[in-house]
């Protein structure tokens, strides 16, 4: 009997397999690399906007407190801002808190005293102190000793504020920058304050002290 030869056992040659495996590996590698890049890009963009929102928050906090301040001082390195703010709301322990703290939470009526240098509007005997400071990776706001973290990022958020006092007005100029995760090498190691990647993130605001108005 003549055996029938089974011609269906044909497979791929070693060469074909090598080519196919090679191409497949390249495709998988490309897909994998693309996926990683996409993830990193998404994370980078998400991180960028997240930090940008924190920039806005820092500026908004600062502007709000500067506007209602009696005075503002900034440190030489521009990283610490101290606002002196009227005590508008009566707090427990204040001299006018009343019996059983009956007046706590009420708005204080100011004492007005005309003087040779103009009327003095005084909301109570003391003032509140609000200090903004950079503390490692966080920006903190401390009001009368109570610390609140208002921004936190690993992107080296740096708020800088300068205070300008003139004859009848005073204002602060604030900038907040950060170093995005994806950045160029700029003019050095990519961490300098003048690095283009950092300066490109600058958010700027100018806030006038409403209690020191012109004219």
């Amino acid at each position: 009997m003549k055996l029938r030869q089974n011609h269906n056992t044909a497979g791929f040659s070693m060469g074909e397999m090598v080519v196919v495996v090679g191409i497949t590996s390249a495709l998988f590698a490309a897909a994998f690399a693309s996926s990683i890049s996409l993830q990193q890009s998404l994370a980078g963009v998400d991180d960028f906007f997240s930090t940008h929102l924190q920039q806005i928050r820092i500026i908004d906090y600062l502007s709000r407190d500067v506007k209602r301040s009696y005075s503002v001082t900034t440190s030489v390195d521009k990283l610490t801002v101290t606002c002196t703010i009227p005590n508008y709301v009566i707090q427990a322990g204040d001299s006018d808190a009343g019996v059983g703290n009956a007046n706590v939470g009420k708005r204080r009526t100011p004492t007005i005293t005309p003087t040779a240098n103009g009327a003095v509007i005084d909301y109570g005997t003391g003032t509140s102190s609000v200090i903004y400071a950079l503390n490692n990776q966080t920006i903190t706001r401390t009001e009368n000793g109570v610390l609140t973290t208002i921004a936190a990022s690993t992107d080296s958020l740096v708020p800088e504020t300068i205070d300008t006092e003139l004859a009848n007005t005073e204002y602060t100029s604030s900038t907040v920058t950060f170093m995005p995760k994806f950045h160029g090498h700029g003019n050095g190691n990519g961490q300098g304050q003048t690095d283009p990647s950092r300066t490109g993130t600058t958010v700027f605001a100018k806030a006038y002290l409403r209690n020191k108005r012109r004219g």
Binding site: N8, L38, L42, D46, F49, S50, H52, L53, Q54, I56, R57, D60, Y61, R64, K67, R68, P86, Y88, V89, G105, K106, R107, T109, P110, I112, P114, T115, A116, N117, G118, A119, I121, Y123, T148, T149, I150, A151, A152, S153, E165, L166, A167, N168, T169, R210, N211, R213, R214, G215
Partner: protein, 505 residues
């Protein structure tokens, strides 16, 4: 025959579905992130800022009415929906219908104004409380951007959004704990609350206010200040050890244009409106601001009250009536020209001068005039004033030594310059009023003439204060602002916002 069946089933469709699912998940994640970010940046931040704009706009609504206290007293709080709040301890007004504005009326402001203080000259101070509301658009379900870390709350500490209920009214009621209630909001909103104090602007708050230009003093001249509560003027502005040193450095000059020219030292602040004054190109001890504008209202010819008409005659000597010892009932005189006139004070039984109040209206020019000790003369003039400094005689003394009040008590009206007030009536025909003072001599007086060109020749010293249009006085003169004029030099000419607080609860 064997038929080979080639299976046509495969995994392509599964692969395609899997890829679509993966891409959809990625897209959904991106959308979730971007929506939250977009909501925060474009909607919530915007509304939070606009709520303050609305509150400050409401403050301006109130401020406009406060300013009418000096410019149009009878029309205060009468327009729009302003209404008097009945039963309040002090005069209080409110906008009964909150003002709406912004895109699609997304902003509104409600305002309440009360008279929080009245000074010794019966000038009211106003407190303006304004609440600004801004609609928060967008999807409220995405919430706020509070994802810094597990313990840090981010935006919600700063931007307090009322998604369903008004948190402020629920927690603080009207701000003082009254009428707390759970108030549903129809759309998400942000409210911000500010409180302003509007204080009167006095006619004289520094030595000089010029609406158009300033040139002076000469290279050897000075501009400084003193306080006549401490007695007569002496120069101490360069001596920090002097007890009155701090009172000597308020000889401020304000110009409402860029035109400012200076020779001698100004011991005080300087402001211009668009000028280029710096410490390096000037001799100014105080601060400099080149971005300050101001107004000085015109002077209209006054009319005496019907109960106190003009006294008759035009003598060379004025001897006021007994009622003139009350500042509320001064003697009124009407002249076409005032030149060579002496005004005497009332005296008590011992011959001591009594503070005596005289108002003179001059429809023409003013020349030589003498006021004796105790006289408070307010001279309104429509023409020009031209005289030598020695002929504008003010025989009062700083400190009011020897002068009594009508009730016999010693006078506390200490300012020598404050006893002699010149008011330049603003010409209605557009002509220029001129105040021209020549040497020799010195002048103790105040000049409020916002339409006048003030020319000071030579080296007379002026003690008091000046408001004018143009000022030229570049001789070696001394300009000495008497700080005691504050609060005594007449009714307010305007109002300013003197205090600003925000209720951040």
């Amino acid at each position: 025959m064997k038929i080979n069946r080639h299976s046509e089933t495969g995994s392509v469709i599964l692969c395609a579905i899997a890829i679509i699912v993966i891409i959809s998940l990625v897209a959904a994640g991106v959308l979730m992130n971007t929506t939250a970010r977009y909501n925060a940046t474009s909607k919530q931040v915007k509304a939070w800022k606009e709520a303050l704009y609305a509150a400050e706009a409401g403050g301006d609504f109130g401020y406009v009415e406060c300013r009418k206290a000096s410019s149009a007293p009878g029309t205060q709080f009468t327009g729009g929906t302003w209404a008097v709040v009945s039963g309040a301890a002090t005069p209080t007004w409110t906008l009964t219908t909150p003002a709406t504005f912004g895109t699609n009326n997304s902003l509104s402001a409600s305002v309440i104004v009360d008279q929080v203080f009245t000074d010794t000259n019966s000038n009211p101070f106003y407190r303006i409380r304004s609440v600004g509301n801004a609609t928060v658009y967008g999807l409220k379900r995405v919430g706020m951007d509070d994802r810094m870390n597990a313990t840090t709350r981010g935006d919600s500490l700063l931007r307090k959004i009322d998604f369903n209920y008004d948190h402020f009214i629920a927690a603080y009621g009207d701000g003082d704990g009254n009428n707390k209630q759970l108030l549903t909001v129809t759309t998400p909103k942000i409210s911000r609350r500010i409180e302003l104090i509007a204080a009167p602007v006095e006619p004289f708050e520094g030595f000089l206010k010029c609406l158009a230009s300033f040139s002076g003093p000469g290279s050897a001249g000075v501009c400084d200040s003193y306080d006549s509560h401490n007695g007569a003027y002496y120069f101490c502005a360069n001596n920090p050890a002097d007890p009155h040193y701090l009172d000597s450095r308020n000889g401020s000059v304000s110009v409402n244009t860029p035109t400012f020219s200076q020779g001698g030292t100004i011991y005080g602040d300087v402001s211009t409106n668009g000028g280029n004054v710096t410490h390096s190109n000037s001799s100014i001890t105080g601060t400099i601001d080149n971005n300050v504008s101001f107004t000085a209202p015109p002077v209209v010819q006054p009319v005496p009250p019907a109960s106190n008409p003009y006294k008759p005659g035009s003598p060379a000597t004025i001897n006021p009536s007994s009622t003139a010892t009350n500042s509320g009932t001064p003697d009124w005189y009407l002249y076409s020209v005032l030149d060579g006139v002496t005004i005497n004070a009332r005296t008590d039984a011992s011959g001591n001068p009594i503070e005596t109040y005289v108002t003179v209206v001059v429809t023409g020019n003013v020349g030589k005039i003498t006021i004796n000790k105790g006289v408070n003369a307010r001279i309104y003039f429509a023409g020009s004033l031209s005289a030598k400094a020695r002929d504008i005689v003010n025989n009062n003394v700083d400190g009011a030594t020897g002068v009594k009040n009508a009730d016999g008590t010693p006078s506390t009206n200490v300012s020598r310059a404050g006893h002699f007030q010149f008011m330049g009536i603003t010409p209605t025909d557009g002509s220029t009023q001129v105040i021209d003072i020549a040497p020799p001599g010195n002048v103790w007086a105040t000049f409020y003439a916002p339409s006048a060109t003030f020319q000071l020749h030579g080296n007379p010293d002026i003690y008091g204060a000046i408001t004018c249009n143009n000022f030229t006085g570049n001789g070696n003169t001394g300009f000495h602002f008497d700080k005691a004029l504050r609060g005594t030099a007449g009714p307010p000419i305007d109002y300013r916002i003197a205090s600003y607080v925000e209720d951040v609860r």
